[in-house]
Symmetry: C2
């Protein structure tokens, strides 16, 4: 397949993104069934894992859902001790979110599943090609959100390096 950058190619792009996403999330979905959780729980767990101390309002901004919608899954995750909250030190209205050991362990399991898919899929791509793929995904993000996404990615990488 050629994947040309013409109008037909744009149709192909739409479809490839649909199928890639469909299959990328389906395996974690299945794994979460055993916990009585769904995709919404996955997202919350994932972003808290990657951004320890994340505030509720920041999570809302990432997920682009209403606080009522988030609260339903967050409440469950806190009650079942996958996530805990800490009151802000400076501003005590803020609730900072962290994973418990139990939470970390679930996220690890889910990430492993997706890491496997990524590593298998990206096996035959050079580092440069891989970089292109990531940059391509990044470019699709809304203009106004790019800076923040990048900031979080950088912070997360730094956190990792500091360990």
């Amino acid at each position: 397949m050629k994947f040309d950058k013409d109008e037909q190619g744009y149709y192909e792009f739409i479809e490839l993104l649909f199928f890639a996403y469909r299959d990328f999330v389906s395996e974690p979905d299945d794994a979460l069934l055993a916990y009585g959780f769904g995709r919404a729980h996955h997202r919350t767990l994932y972003f808290v894992s990657r951004n320890p101390g994340l505030r509720v309002s920041e999570l809302l901004d990432i997920l682009k859902v209403t606080k009522q919608s988030l609260n339903r899954v967050l409440k469950q995750l806190i009650e079942e001790k996958f996530i805990y909250q800490e009151q802000g030190e400076g501003d005590r209205r803020r609730r900072h979110l962290y994973l418990t050991i139990k939470g970390e362990s679930l996220v690890d399991k889910l990430c492993d599943i997706q890491f496997n898919r990524i590593s298998k899929s990206m096996m035959d791509f050079s580092p440069e090609a891989y970089h292109n793929i990531c940059s391509g995904l990044f470019s699709l993000i809304d203009k106004d959100d790019k800076a923040e996404v990048l900031l979080r990615l950088t912070r997360a990488r730094k956190r990792q390096e500091d360990e």
Copy 2:
């Protein structure tokens, strides 16, 4: 940003795909509100547009949902005359799906929105880099579905060329 092919890079990959998909579908979602339709209608319209004469069972296979779930939106789209059905000539149990003029016009509108995003996002990528991005998405698809996705893409391109 470097986007390395290491474990941290895999986390980044997960996030980039999430944000890219989130924003990629959000504009069509908004446009569909005016029609009282949602994302499920979008998908059905899109795949019928790209595969004229598609059968219901094939659509089920693409969307990976149950026939009851599909039927709800398909029924609406047929009643409101965005899609029509034709009985199979060889096998008259089959229902082949096609877009009406009204349907084509809506799909065009939705595709325009996404074409704009793609073309803006991919502007700075070389044809080779663009090819990498598409190939990368393709690689993420389930092994068992790759052949069929490719077949449909090829057919659609051929249909276009024959016009």
